[in-house]
């Protein structure tokens, strides 16, 4: 039964070879294979979620080698939530990808490989194995960002590759230091050794934490390590942006939480308060910086990208505060942000496909031309601000409460200020969508063809599936706003174990 964990990782990786082989015979086989595989993933994720819900934490030893020597996969409250998020988002984005493309079979190879890598990061219980899965995730993401084969996206992907690989390598240095200090790579074993055989204040341990935090901070796009995020999100195809925005930096932040709580533990923070203070301080600066940068962007995708920087600052600050309320808030916001950003990028993608609208200006009066999509966009954007009832409100509420509980008044104030800034750029978007007359902007050149003919390019067609995905995410964002008791029951054993 615990083999479901291994299957969650293995199924998409094995299935990712199929589009290439079957592609030799069939032309458009990638999409059906991806749908079949990811449906299996959703079922497996549901099985894991059910088991964690009833029995609590469980593990699977890969290849039958016992834990400290072999690699184990672990499912607990935190990793289960991330696994469910990955499975649902991966499957839903396919509903958008069918018509929007890219339709090449090789695109779906990278798509499935990314899903496998993300699952691996969220389930592994071994710090070096985590590095390998991070790099699988990275490799697939770099390929996906450049998957429309344009020069601009290739430049964005290369920038992401250089920064992301440097980050992962720094993480590996941190792992190396921890390995030298303790002689083990298993997470649970490491946490037992740290503080026992080697003091938390040992320079080797402190340095290893610094390297790990910076390395994973790059992956999670925490300010000032976020510089890859605007280009990677803005230049990649809309399908890819929707897919990676909700998941890739999410598992980066998840890995950071996993390392902080499971490996270094809260006692490390108590022994080395500087580490905790530095982490919370940087994350808090990131909340403000991300929001301010988002307000200044004329391009919608860039604005949403910088908004992610701000949200991840908030999530990492919550993890750094290390009390139960903040931890639960951080996880809720992590999951919630995944749903919200995916939905927002899907909605933005629909509007870009239909009207070629990529800037806030070009959104003028679209509210009455695509009522469902813009309504979904509006709901998701308001949820991002934190208007109740929504998942965005729930996450921010718990984080702010946790900050107050920890007497971190600066963090609480910054969360409030950033909510106002978020409201600023969201209100600007909504105002343009619904209240600004169409005449006040120039006619979009995308809508006109020189010979006056009909546009026949399939990539500019909006399918029902694309709109349905956007609306479904908006409904989920509101529905999850009532799921606070559910999150608490799932996360309480996790918080109890590590706090």
């Amino acid at each position: 039964m615990s083999a479901t964990l291994a299957l969650l990782v293995a199924v998409p990786i094995l299935a990712s070879t199929l589009p290439l082989f079957l592609g030799l015979r069939f032309e458009r086989i990638g999409w059906p294979i991806a749908v079949a595989t990811l449906t299996v993933e959703v079922v497996l994720a549901a099985l894991v979620a059910h088991r964690v819900f009833t029995d609590g934490r469980f593990t699977h030893e890969l290849g039958g080698y016992p834990a400290p020597y072999g690699i184990e996969l672990v499912a607990d409250g935190l990793s289960m939530l991330v696994v469910v998020l990955i499975a649902i988002v991966s499957l839903s984005v396919l509903g958008y990808a069918r018509v929007a493309g890219p339709r090449r079979n090789s695109f779906y190879v990278a798509y499935l490989l990314l899903c496998g890598g993300l699952m691996g990061v969220s389930l592994t219980g071994d710090v070096f194995n985590l590095f390998v899965f991070l790099e699988i995730t990275g490799l697939a993401t770099y390929a996906l960002v450049a998957s429309d084969r344009s020069g601009r996206s290739a430049v964005a992907a290369l920038k992401y590759l250089i920064i992301g690989t440097a980050g992962a390598s720094l993480y590996l240095v941190g792992v190396g230091y921890a390995f030298v200090a303790t002689g083990t790579l298993n997470m649970v074993d490491l946490s037992n050794e740290l503080g026992e055989t080697v003091a938390y204040t040992d320079p080797l341990v402190v340095a290893s934490f610094a390297f790990v935090a910076v390395g994973l901070g790059v992956k999670a796009a925490v300010f000032p390590l976020h510089t890859w995020i605007p280009d990677a999100y803005a230049e990649s195809p809309d399908t890819v942006t929707a897919y990676i925005s909700g998941l890739v930096s999410t598992v980066g932040a998840y890995a950071l939480a996993r390392l902080i709580y499971t490996v270094y533990t809260v006692e490390f923070f108590e022994a080395v308060p500087l580490a905790q203070d530095a982490l919370v301080a940087l994350a808090t600066v990131g909340i403000v910086a991300g929001s301010v940068l988002a307000v200044m962007q004329p391009d919608v995708k860039r604005m949403l990208a910088y908004s992610s920087v701000s949200q991840f600052g908030m999530i990492v600050a919550a993890f750094g505060l290390a009390n139960e309320t903040a931890l639960i808030g951080g996880v809720i916001h992590l999951i919630g942000h995944g749903f919200l950003k995916t939905g927002l990028f899907v909605a933005a993608g629909v509007l870009a496909t239909a009207y070629g609208a990529r800037t806030v200006q070009a959104y003028a009066n679209l509210g009455y031309r695509s009522p469902y999509t813009t309504a979904a966009l509006g709901v998701l954007a308001l949820a991002l601000v934190g208007i109740p009832p929504s998942i965005g409100f729930l996450g921010k509420w718990y984080i702010a409460l946790g900050a107050v509980n920890a007497d971190a008044w600066v963090v609480a104030a910054v969360i409030f200020a950033s909510t106002l800034l978020t409201l600023l750029y969201v209100a600007r978007l909504l105002e343009t969508l619904y209240f600004r007359p169409r005449d006040s902007v120039d006619i979009q050149f995308d809508e006109l063809l020189a010979d006056g003919g009909e546009r026949d390019d399939p990539s500019t067609r909006v399918s029902v599936g694309m709109v349905v995905v956007a609306v479904a995410f908006a409904l989920a964002a509101v529905g999850l706003g009532f799921a606070a008791p559910l999150f608490e029951t799932v996360l309480e054993p996790f918080a109890g174990r590590y706090l």
Partner: protein, 123 residues
């Protein structure tokens, strides 16, 4: 441990720090995209050197246990070697993806210089 002793026994760690810094500087300072990737490779190789150096045991032999058993004496630690082997594979695939992207960029912009590409892309 005196400074001289560290120089004679721990020089591999000094090389690690030097290569790491050099690779990082190359990644940041060189405007040539291929040289950035070479810098990235140097950065990663430094980490491999670090891992291999930690596995070294004075007078230790290759950690291959004879089939009939009876392994005695000092052995070098095999785990860091396995880690490095895996990390090398990861590094090679990253270099491949990076070079593929650079080929794409070169056909699009006709240059490998970061500044030139930025100029052309802005137009």
């Amino acid at each position: 441990m005196s400074a001289l002793e560290f120089l004679t026994t721990g020089y591999a760690y000094l090389a690690f720090a030097f290569l790491l810094a050099t690779g990082l500087y190359m990644m940041i300072a060189s405007p040539n995209l291929v040289k950035k990737i070479i810098g990235l490779n140097m950065f990663q190789s430094a980490i491999f050197l670090f891992f291999v150096a930690t596995a070294y045991v004075q007078g230790g032999s290759v950690p291959v246990i004879p089939q009939e058993g009876g392994a005695v004496g000092e052995y070098a630690s095999p785990l860091p070697h396995v880690i490095v082997l895996t990390a090398i594979v990861v590094g090679v695939s990253l270099t491949a993806v990076a070079l593929a992207l650079i080929v794409r960029i070169y056909t699009e912009y006709g240059s490998l210089n970061e500044e030139t590409i930025r100029e052309v892309a802005r137009r």
